[in-house]
Each structure stands twice: as C-alpha cells, then as structure tokens.
C-alpha cells in the first residue's frame, strides 16, 4: 500500500513538472538597487528602480526601502527595457514542419478578419525560450495570402491571450510582389510581371469595395432605412479605411516598395512598412513619404546575387541615415530569441548600438501606438524590463532576471531545463 502511494505520488510529481514546464512567476514589489539604468528615452542613470504592481513606480537615487519590497542588489548590473520584436509568429507555431501545429496561415486570400490573438497559445514552448534573452513583447501575426489576417502585440507572460494582449492590432497586407518566389520559381520574366499586375488590380478592386462598404456602413449608422449585409472581412478593414487603425504593409523589393508608397498615398492609408529588405535602395522615398518601417530579419542573405554581401546587415542603418523611423524584427517563431543578435549586427553595420536598441524598444512602441506604457524605463510605464551583466546584444552576456508587467518571470525554458538535466547525466556510461 505504501509502495503504491509512493508510486502514485511520484507519478503526480512527474505530471505536474511537465505540465508546468517552468516555475511560476513571483509578484513584487521589487526594488532594484545600484544599477546602471538604460532608460533609452532619458539617458543612462546610476540608481534604483522600484517596481510596484505592474508598473515602474520610481527611478532615482536612494529610493527608500521598505519591508514590503523584495530587494535585488544590482551593483555592476545593467537594466534595460524589455525588447520588443516588431514581427514574429511566436505562440502561433509549435513545430514548423507539422502543419497541424501552425496557426498563422489560414486558408484564403482575403481574410483580414482572422485574428492572430485568437490562436495565441499562452503555453507555447517558444514563449519561455524567447524571454530568456530579454524579449518581453512581440508582434505576432499571420502569413500567407494578400490579407492573411490581423496581427497582435502581446507580452510574453499570462494565462490567456487577453491577459497577454499589449494594446495593438494591425491588419496585414502582403503587397503584390514582382519578385521571384525563390530560385526554383521558373516563371518567365513576362509571367512574373503579368502576375504582379493582376494581383495589384485585384487589390485595387478589394480596396474600392472596402471603401464603398465603409460608406454604406457610415450611412446605415445614421439612416435606419439603409441596410448593410455585414461581411466580417470587410468589417475588419473598417478601422483602416477610417484611419483609426494601422495597415501593416509587407513589401521587400525596391520596385514594389515604390509601388506600395504610391498605393498608400493614393488611398491615404495610415500604414507601416514591414520587411523592407531593399529599403536601402529607396530610403529617400520612404523618408519623404514619412512612413515608419519594421525591417528584418537582419541575419539574411542578399536578395539579389549582385548585391554587396552585407546588404541585409546594413539595411536598417542605411534607412535610418536617410531619416526613416526604423524598428527591427526577426520574422521568427522559435528563434525570436535572436532579436538582440539581429540588432547587434545592424548596430555593427552602420546603425550604432544606441539606435539599434531604440529599434527594439521605443521605436516599435511608438509605431504600435503604445509608447505611453512601453519601450523605455520611465516612472508610470509598464514594468517590462530585465537585468543583464553587460551589453545585452553582446553574445556572451547573460540576462540574469526578467520582469513582465511587474512579475519576476523565471528565466527557465525547455533549453535551460534540458541543460540542467543533462550537463551531469546520471547514470553516465558504465
């Protein structure tokens, strides 16, 4: 009987360990003492940072301690605002090659009503992995057809998608491409061109219909005699048509970027360009249009064989120099944890370290309209931040503690747990 009891107990322990995966987060308030605080918007401060509830309560010298506070001595350590990845599939994809575990690519070409937030899995294995390198917030979004759905900004902590939601949604448009889909795309030059023109015509038709739908919708709101046949996909575009929402326009080839700029101006859309692999080539045009850019991945091969080898590394910096507001993304699911390295490469190849950090913090926060609460270390902002033993882009450095909305989140993940178990395997070999 006792043996049976022990067996069932060990079984329970086993289950709970694997179901939970990583330890629970701890609640504050936390007082971080004697740190080098990289506020991003207000310079570098030597001092203390107080986290209370989900907010940063205060930053300054000699903040008075209290018995209620958990105090962390940060002498010699650095505090940074949590990094924001401007474009990922985090929590929407579990295993890329197993299609049934992918929730970012619904069927259909015109489906802006598909909500990424709906499919965010709060227990996705990628979430703790992404956090361990200081990424606290990501835009996670759909891929696929012309309008594959609506992306959502989420914090990488919480038990439901609603808890994780960080206040921004954007409809994604994959702007028609006149490029080849890869080296195996054997269409003739003419066919490539024709397909692109056809796609652009179709996009114009959809947009004209959406504008008309918005007009009918507005009219129906004031005149009860006007009936409107509701269409969810058209409803999803209403905020964009009315300039209350942002259209995330994915476009990469220089000629297509120019076409997109023209299309956006013609239709007077509140747009953000994403991808923008060849932004360097048309940086002046983007700057003149006044559009912000979320570019990446930085660690990428040149898109044309005749490009200089470092074109993708230098792209973000080149656009910044031309006066474009630039945020950086990984466009990754399981390896969004590499965001600091994408930023580090951009920094080395012309962007500079300070600007590269802005590109993964305050700039995306501004682009997503959440800079009141996100993107820098200021009293009153959401306590998304981490403690690092040095420059967080530098490969060897370690993130030592991380906070999301004031919760101290354990820096455990499948990767660290497997390390802990197997670095000293026992039994080893006889």
């Amino acid at each position: 009987m006792k043996a049976l009891y022990l067996l069932s107990l060990s079984f329970l322990t086993f289950i709970s360990l694997h179901a939970q995966m990583v330890k629970k987060s701890e609640a504050g308030p936390f007082l971080l003492k004697n740190a080098t605080i990289h506020t991003i918007t207000k310079g570098v401060i030597q001092g203390d940072l107080l986290i209370s509830g989900e907010r940063i309560e205060a930053i300054g010298q000699n903040i008075k301690s209290s018995a209620k506070y958990t105090v962390l001595d940060c002498t010699g350590k650095h505090i940074y605002p949590g990094m924001i990845d401007g474009g990922t599939q985090v929590a929407l994809s579990e295993i890329e090659a197993v299609s049934i575990t992918n929730d970012f690519n619904e069927i259909g070409d015109f489906i802006p009503h598909m909500q990424a937030l709906t499919a965010v899995n709060p227990n996705a294995v990628t979430i703790p992995v992404t956090r361990t390198n200081g990424v606290t917030t990501v835009l996670t979004g759909p891929k696929g057809g012309r309008f594959p759905g609506t992306a959502a900004l989420i914090d990488l902590h919480g038990y439901t998608p609603e808890q994780m939601y960080a206040g921004f949604k954007g409809v994604v448009l994959n702007f028609p491409s006149s490029g080849r889909r890869g080296r195996f795309d054997r269409r003739s030059d003419e066919d490539v061109k024709k397909d692109a023109e056809k796609a652009l015509k179709k996009l114009d038709d959809i947009w004209a219909e959406a504008v008309l739908y918005a007009q009918i919708d507005s009219a129906a709101a004031v005149d009860k005699n006007i009936k409107i046949n509701r269409k969810p996909e058209m409803d999803a575009l209403l905020p964009v048509i009315r300039k209350q929402g942002v259209l995330l326009v994915e476009v990469n080839k220089s000629e297509d970027i120019k076409a997109a700029l023209g299309w956006i101006a013609k239709n007077k859309i509140n747009a953000v360009l994403t991808g923008v692999a060849e932004g360097s080539r048309v940086a002046q045009d983007i700057a003149k249009a006044g559009l912000a850019v979320i570019t990446g991945p930085v660690l990428e091969t040149p898109r044309r064989d005749y490009d200089r080898y470092d074109t993708p590394y230098a792209n973000a910096g080149n656009m910044l120099k031309a006066g474009v507001r630039v945020a950086i993304r990984t466009d990754e699911a399981e390896n969004a944890r590499n965001l600091p390295f994408h930023a580090g490469f951009a920094a080395a190849y012309g962007m500079g370290i300070d600007e590269a950090y802005r590109a993964v913090s305050i700039v995306p926060a501004e682009i997503f309209g959440v800079s009141k609460f996100y993107g820098s270390l200021e009293a009153g902002k959401v306590a998304n931040l981490y403690i690092c033993d040095g420059d967080p882009f530098e490969t060897r450095n370690q993130v030592e503690a991380l906070f999301i909305r004031g919760w101290k989140v354990p820096l455990e993940s499948r990767h660290t747990l497997l390390y802990d178990e197997f670095i000293q395997r026992s039994p080893g070999v006889k």
Binding site: E94, I95, E96, A97, V98, N133, K143, G144, N174, S177, S178, G179, R180, R181, G182, R183, F184, D189, N252, K253, E255, G275, A277, E278, L299, E300, T301, P302, R303, R304, D305, Y306, D307, Y309, D310, A333, E334, N335, N338, P340, F341, F345, A347, A348, Y349, F393, E394, T395, R396, N397, Q398, R414, H415, T416, L418, Y419, F422, I423, R425, V429
Partner: protein, 455 residues
C-alpha cells in the same frame, strides 16, 4: 554593360590565376592560434600558400603583400563541416542506398554563396550530399577558391573521402511515405544499414575468393558495393544526419557490429542526451548553434547542446547547413558562451580545429601553426563579439575577401540576358537544406506547392 562585366570577370579570374598559392605578411595583429594560445602584436607570414613564420617583426621579400593588422584579430580560416553551397545537386533521392554517387561531380564554382561565405571568414566547407537516403552519396571537402572556374580546383587535395548517412524523418518521409518502401520507421532505417553492410561483406568475400582462385568467374562489379566495402574498411569517413538519441545509439551499435570506428554525427540535436555514449565510442558531433522546433524530431532540443557535448569530451563543431548561417559561423560559435559558458578557445575550436578533425584535415588546417595552409580570417574586433566584422579572408595565401576594396557585385557567372529587376528573390525559409532537390522532385505535389504559395 555586358562588356564591363566580362572585363571585370576576366580581371578577377586572371588575378586569381596568377598563382594557385600566394605570399602575404600580416603585421601586428592579435593572433588566435587555437593550439598555442593568443599572441599579441604578432606577425604571420604566409609563403607559397603555407604559414612559414609566426613571430615579432617578421620580414618578407619586397614584393610580398602586406596587411597592417594592428588592433585586428587573426584566426584560422573558419571550417564548416556541413554545407551545401557550391553544389548543383544535393540529393540522389531515388533509392535508400546510393553510396555510388558523389557530389564532387556536381560542384558549381560560380555560386556567389562561396564569396559570401568568404566574407564571413569561412575558407573550407564540407559540401554534403542530402539526407533523403539512409546511405546517401559521397561528399567533398572544398576550399573556397572563389574565382577559380574549374570545379575540380575547388576540391581540397588530399582530403579524406567522406559519405553522408541519414537517420530519422528524412529517409522515412522520402522512401517510406513517399515511395512506400523501407524505411518508414526507425526500425526500418536500422535494417537498411544492416542489409547494405551485410551485402557488402558478401561482395568483399566473393572478390576475395575470386582473387584467391577459389572461384573462376569474377563477381559482377558494383560501384555501390565497392563504396560500401570501403566504408567497412575504414577508408571513408561517415557523416551521419541524425537527431534523436535512440537512432544515434542504434547506428553506434550497427557500426560496432561491423567494426567501423569513425563517425561524425551531423545536427545531432539530441546528442546532449547520449554525450557519454558518443564520447565512449569516440564519435564526434557537428551541431547547429540554436536551430530547433522546425520539425518534430528537433522539438526536444537545447541550444546548450554544443556545451554539454564539449563538457563530455566529444569533439564538437558548429556547422551551418545554410547559405545564410555560413556567413556568420563566428557568431554561431559565440552563442555557446551565452548557452553554456564555453571559453574563447573552446568556442573558436568549434569552427576551426574540431571541424578539421571531423573532416580528417587537422594536419593541414584548423589552427595557426608553422607549416599549415595559409588560410586565415582577419576581424576588426574579437571574432566572438557580435560587433566583429570580418576584414580579410585568405585562402592558400591569396586574399579572396577584402572588405574595404572588393567590388559590391562579385558574381563571376553573369547571364547577359538576365533582367536585373527580375532577379529579386522573395525570402523563403529553408530550414532543412538537406532535403533540397527532394522537395522539388519527389514531393513535387505538396511541399513544392506549399513553398511556392508561402508568399
């Protein structure tokens, strides 16, 4: 336009053809020797393509090219033990056992990826057959002599023969799911090896009997069986695509039964689980720095793999298997410091001496020592820093990458009819490059269409 390119092309080829090996003196850098510590303010002299001296205030004949490297870091040319660049064909996916084919017959010296790899300090790569077959084709160690247009001149002379094996999902999908033949499971994969080795033993015996005069008629000659026999005789190094711990142990058992001693496991994402067994066998491991979760058999992975293997005494390297990652293997190696706290020398060994050992070329390359090949990579900062930018890459004493002076367009094969604006490629994430050609041909339906429709 075309004339301009042709002239450029000719200039470049002639510049290279001046000599197969070159002389160069690198002055005043920090030399990361790998085998003999770090030497500050030290010169390295390369004469006729070989390192001839390492020391202070070295002198060279007047005409020798000099690189002023004060403040810079000099490391051995980076070696990638798993790559598919410079190849026109990857997978002979027509049968689970195809050791008779050789990627050395499909080398493409015009591939601009070779230059892009040089621009990341990589001087040697192991051009591998794909992973569609349990016993795939033979591979070829190549030197990145970009500008050389004779495919055979890229082959590293004297490098041992190597062959690709593959376990798990790829051969199972290609043959089991794709063709309805064994293997469809990991049980089947084991028996493909055992059957092939058994047949090869019989073949060897038949020839031995014939040569001893015991049989009159010679057995039928088979290049497939000849190659398998060479594997059993230890004349060909095995590089085996693998992921799961159980399948790794399976192959170790098969090799023990057939007396094969040398193997390098490739990818080997679950190598960390059986690191003591790998060490006991003397097997080596060539891993990704952090790729995982792109398919089911890599779902239970850890970026600490290289560190755990290293701590267990397994000779480990970090590879690319990608024309993207090959451009920053120095950064991939540095990730073992974030994930597992390896020392600088341990991390650098993962992309120099250790892959050299796995390819059987460690007496020639992989460290900065007198008498070794003049293959070097020169960085402005320590190569393990995320901010390090490669400045020069030298192969056989020839400077084949020079960041400040190289032209932007480094193609050496230009189609005069190609329209520049049409040559843009949308990004296509190909995380399993080992399956190239298979996805295009065998799985023509499903995967190919899916890839096409990704954008």
């Amino acid at each position: 336009m075309t004339t301009k390119y042709t002239t450029l092309l000719l200039l470049f080829v002639f510049a290279y053809a001046k000599g197969q090996t070159g002389d160069v003196l690198i002055k005043g850098g920090t030399v990361l020797t790998i085998t003999n510590g770090v030497k500050e303010n030290t010169d390295v002299l390369i004469t006729k393509g070989k390192i001839s001296a390492i020391g202070k205030n070295l002198k060279a004949p007047g005409a020798t090219k000099v690189i002023e490297a004060t403040g810079m870091y000099i490391m051995p040319g980076i070696i990638d033990a798993h790559s598919h660049i410079a190849l026109d064909a990857i997978n002979e996916a027509s049968h689970p056992v195809t050791p008779e084919v050789n990627v050395g017959d499909a080398i493409n010296p015009y591939d601009v990826s070779i230059y892009q790899a040089l621009a990341g300090g990589v001087t040697i790569s192991h051009a591998m057959h794909g992973s569609a077959n349990a016993i795939g084709g033979q591979c070829q160690t190549i030197k990145h002599r970009y500008g050389e247009v004779n495919p055979d001149k890229l082959k590293m002379e004297g490098a041992p023969r190597t062959i690709k094996f593959a376990l798990g999902e790829n051969p199972m999908r290609t043959h089991g799911e794709g063709q309805g033949i064994v293997p469809r499971t990991r049980m089947g994969v084991e028996q493909v090896f055992r059957t092939a080795f058994s047949d090869a033993r019989v073949y060897k015996q038949q020839w031995a009997d014939h040569k001893a005069g015991l049989t009159k008629m010679a057995p039928e000659f088979s290049l497939r069986m000849e190659t398998l026999a060479d594997i059993l005789d230890g004349k060909i190094l095995i590089h085996c695509h693998s992921y799961r711990a159980d399948e790794i142990l399976m192959l170790l058992n098969v090799l023990k039964d057939y007396g094969v001693k040398k193997i390098c496991f490739q990818h080997v994402n679950e190598g960390f689980k059986v690191a003591p067994e790998l060490a006991a066998f003397g097997a080596s491991a060539s891993v990704f720095s952090d790729w995982w979760a792109y398919k089911f058999e890599v779902y239970y992975s850890t970026a600490y793999n290289a560190a755990i293997l290293t701590r267990n005494g397994v000779v480990t390297s970090i590879n690319s298997d990608s024309d993207e990652l090959i451009r920053h293997l120095y950064h991939e190696a540095a990730k073992t410091q974030r994930y597992g706290d390896l020392s600088d020398e341990e991390a650098l060994k993962l992309i120099t001496l250790n892959p050299a050992k796995q390819l059987g070329i460690e007496d020639r390359v992989g460290s900065i020592e007198k008498g070794k090949d003049g293959d070097l990579a020169i960085f402005d900062k320590h190569p393990l820093s995320v901010y390090a930018i490669p400045q020069f890459t030298i192969v056989d004493g020839n400077v084949l990458f020079d960041r400040k002076n190289d032209a932007a367009d480094k193609r050496i094969d230009i189609d005069p009819e190609e329209k520049l604006e049409a040559a843009f490629y949308e990004r296509l994430i190909e995380k399993d490059n080992c399956m190239q050609d298979v996805t295009e041909t065998l799985f023509f339906g499903h995967q190919y269409r899916e890839a096409l429709h990704k954008h």
